[in-house]
């Protein structure tokens, strides 16, 4: 691995967690190059379901 991308802050990660209208925050990736939004949604689901 090589250093490249700027770090994604926990503030931006957390903000996107709580607002499903927001896109998946930049700075995340998936091994097969697909949109990481579906994977980020696992965390959104965990957080939102805990609030119900």
């Amino acid at each position: 691995m090589s250093a490249a991308a700027p770090p994604l802050s926990q503030r931006d990660f957390a903000r996107a967690l709580l607002d499903p209208q927001q896109p998946c925050p930049p700075g995340l990736r998936s091994w097969n190059g697909c949109d990481p939004a579906a994977r980020f949604a696992v965390h959104r689901n965990n957080v939102v379901s805990s609030l119900v």
Binding site: P7, L8, Q10, S30, N46, L51
Partner: protein, 292 residues
């Protein structure tokens, strides 16, 4: 099972246990269920008093205990919550468990608790912060922490090392131990198209103080690739049992916990999974050619 025959210092006995659930407590206390140890989530017992603490006290009189934290947020950018650490210290002082563990993850930010174990980037800045937090926890609690490898679904573009390198460095710098969650290792390996056994082999296995086994759910990402989700809501998968056996061959017999937090089955079902783990431990101890 004879836990005291295999105790290593103040550690858990080298046998199989299960996560202790309130719904099973009465049956366990009434029947004296034959298990090596129990594990509880620390945060469920951060109460001033009442029947739950009293019941856990009775369990602790009869069985070794592991206390497993889920809310310390060791990977957080913010400082650790001193009040939470204080509650942990009080709990550990009260029950004197054989093991205390937490996660390589964050769950709090800006005063909010997210009730999920969120991933950290594997870079130098995060490494230093996690080591500082582990140092602080071990100083405050005056005991060795076992740090658990996470299930992850996304990776950070800013990571500069892999998970095994990161965990190895945390162990080397802080002196903490590892809680090797074999299900998490499998889930993360599938989710990032890696070799789970190679991941485990590259960890400092002499630092492992406990193994976790659990079940996952399966989904697909938008490209159709397998996406495994660590739910603790299903039986342990055959692939995880196989990885567990391979892990025992590499690391030797280890205290092993069967975790189930959702879709809770009858106690007997969890005990059967613990017995399967116990057979794997026995096979690991047996001379070659005597595997069960």
């Amino acid at each position: 099972m004879k836990p005291d025959a295999a105790v290593r210092g103040a550690q858990l006995p080298v046998c199989a246990g299960i996560g202790l659930k309130a719904g099973h407590m009465r049956e366990i206390l009434d029947t004296g269920t034959d298990l090596g140890f129990f594990e509880v989530h620390a945060e469920n017992y951060m109460v001033a008093g009442g029947p739950l603490l009293a019941q856990l006290g009775r369990i602790r009189e009869r069985y070794p205990l592991s206390i497993h934290g889920v809310g310390l947020s060791i990977g957080a950018e913010a400082p650790l919550d001193a009040a939470h650490l204080g509650r942990l210290a009080a709990l550990l002082s009260r029950f004197e468990p054989q093991s205390f563990s937490e996660h390589l993850a964050w769950s709090s930010h800006g005063g909010n608790f997210y009730n999920d174990l969120l991933p950290v980037p594997y870079d130098r800045v995060t490494l230093q912060r996690v080591c500082d937090h582990v140092d602080q926890v071990q100083q405050r609690l005056q005991r060795r922490l076992l740090l658990e490898n996470p299930s992850t679904y996304v990776e950070y573009e800013c990571s500069t090392m892999d998970e095994a390198q990161f965990l190895s460095e945390v162990v080397r710098r802080s002196g903490c131990g590892l809680l090797l969650d074999v299900n998490n290792a499998y889930v993360s390996a599938v989710n990032h198209a890696r070799d789970a056994q190679a991941f485990i082999a590259s960890l400092p296995l002499s630092a492992v103080g406990e193994i976790h086994l659990a079940g996952f759910a399966e989904d697909r990402d938008t490209a159709g690739s397998r996406l495994l989700i660590d739910t603790h809501g299903a039986p342990i998968d055959a692939a995880v049992w196989a990885l567990y056996t391979a892990t025992l061959r590499m690391a030797g017999p280890m205290p092993t916990l069967v975790e189930r937090d959702n879709n809770l089955p009858p106690l007997a079902v969890l005990c059967a999974e613990a017995q399967r783990a116990e057979r794997a431990l026995s096979a690991c101890r047996a001379p070659v050619g005597h595997e069960v």
